[in-house]
Symmetry: C4
Subunit: 204 residues, 4 copies
């Protein structure tokens, strides 16, 4: 089974997921600037989700450059990741409509957590059919960032019960964590071309 068409299909689904979120930004009813006030929270929620899905696309892209073969397990674990990511627009819409409210933020975190866990599951099904000392295994490595992200999401659930804004802060932290260029990756990139795959992992 060749990874090419799976990659193209995933790109298509990711492009749709990242774009349909904008359909939630309804134009204000009136024609005055004050109508934009209600849009601001939704716009920020959309921006956050855009960045998080963008990070997944980026990591997915790097990961698949190192994948040499796929099987039914990889195919379906990739499908599971796409399913979880497809729930992001739903969670974003609720979160953007009720900024700072407990239930929407916890739901948002749970969706992001499911994405991170399914991404990890996908890398594990990939490792099973790749050599343990190959490029893919080296690149995934200990997956520190992935584990840290899962930890941050897990702690965001109870902490959002105390204050929803702490939950928001933790999600933003995860996004920043992945946006900041990785010095280790940059170093690997400088030494060899296969480098960009280094550090690919469980996504945000």
């Amino acid at each position: 089974m060749s990874p090419k068409r799976l990659e193209a299909f995933s790109d298509g689904v990711l492009a749709i997921i990242i774009t349909i979120m904008v359909l939630e930004l309804r134009p204000p009813a009136g024609a005055g600037f004050d109508g934009l006030r209600d849009v601001v929270a939704k716009l920020l929620a959309y921006l956050l989700s855009f960045v998080l899905v963008g990070i997944y696309w980026n990591n997915h892209h790097h990961l698949f450059r190192l994948v040499e073969r796929i099987d039914g397990g990889v195919m379906w674990s990739n499908m599971a990741l796409l399913f979880c990511l497809s729930l992001v627009p739903f969670a974003t819409a609720w979160f953007g409509e009720h900024p700072g409210k407990q239930a929407p933020i916890i739901s948002y975190v749970v969706v992001q957590l499911s994405c991170a866990l399914s991404y990890t599951a996908m890398t594990l099904t990939m490792l099973r059919i790749h050599p343990p000392d190959g490029l893919l295994a080296t690149a995934i490595g200990h997956d520190f960032k992935g584990k840290l992200s899962v930890g941050l999401y897990l702690s965001a659930i109870p902490l959002s019960l105390a204050s929803p804004w702490v939950g928001v802060a933790l999600i933003v932290t995860v996004a920043v964590l992945w946006l900041v260029p990785d010095r280790r990756v940059a170093r690997t990139l400088a030494t060899k071309d296969a480098g960009p795959g280094a550090g690919v992992s469980a996504g945000p």
Copy 2:
């Protein structure tokens, strides 16, 4: 006529079909957890449809790896399949809004049945222009799974009149039937690379 662009177009349509279903998951009106209760049935209906469309994508992908040429008949039978699959979001939305009600479930089964039949029709138009002892013919074979799926859908229609949940159970059975890895496929895979096409058939 080359199958490449038909495959890319089909991938695009399938990616859109599988993703727009999530637009039916409207965020609850309130900001409390109890608002999620209404979403659960829709989410499960979406998950079921996601898996069924995913199986079609998977089978379509395998099938096209073995297709050497296409003609107008294949082109239009593929279009017919895409048309039937594009009705899945509609059927899912109705089914998810009225869980356990007769008419929505029977409609859902009818749409799935039309997908399975058009998939079979597509394989038949393909076989017409391929050698009867070629890879494609071998891979499609007796298409036991495809025939079984059609049989299960056909029996689901009258049985849903008795109890809609029996219909749901039969649809889930079809999905599981296709998700469970096929030992025969795995064996073929092990012996030669063309193997993943083995067992491709009428989809769920």
Copy 3:
């Protein structure tokens, strides 16, 4: 300028156009079979548009197999075609909601006419930068079907004023005209591989 990316972009837009039409098929409010009655007209309107857009995709696909180069003129005439085609979902929605009413049917015909004319305009901008005795020129030829389609659309406008159903019949005629396999094309196909391009023209 290479035609490859223009083709891929057009495929993406066409895949979206053909699929978002299904978003108009709203699930009935109730859970009974009688709710489906209102859906029937919309479903038939969707089927008609699906076939017409499918014919464009098919013709576009054949045409681009013979195109050797493109320039800004081709690029923008292709964009104009995509713009006209993107109005099909709108026209379909109105037409499906008011079956047999004058204004929606005439609007539908006008949109289809604009698609046919912009397709013709695109072929003309293509011919300008291709040899007059080349494959593309031969394939487009006198474009009898294209001219006939434009004529049928033009006559459908006044005739719909008399009876909207005559307009519907004429649109269906155009669709059938393009669906019926072209004996001339089949013959060309048999003699050489460049054949599928033969008869490509102004679409429905």
Copy 4:
């Protein structure tokens, strides 16, 4: 990092952005021609946005033909451009619903300005990793059109306060500016094939 998949992903997102705008064109409530009157303004707003996004696609396409390598900076500046462009459907919907009103037009200009600036930012991140005397640097050059567009957008903001229609006129001017074939580009095209990239710049 190879530019191919980034290009394909961007194409997917652009195809979706350019097409979902049509979802705002709701069919009129009644079945009479007078219902179309409200659609006209939305249709014109859609046409304008279609052309502007089309120009971005065109420039993006030319630019990437000259790009030899990308890095994380290019990846994320491309994502920022896609984010800004994804706000165009929102701005178009508001603008089309309230033609000639200040706030929607200024919002529309601000979104277009953000697109132009993020396109410029993307070209700058690209130049950083390409030779200063290479094809890309030559093609981008002084980017006169890009700077002029930014200037026109900037002046459109205060001028729309005086009269919103001046703002509309300035946006249309930018669109025309990019649609009119560039004599310099045509000349470069005639001398060498890398020519189409000449003049690629900050978009509308």
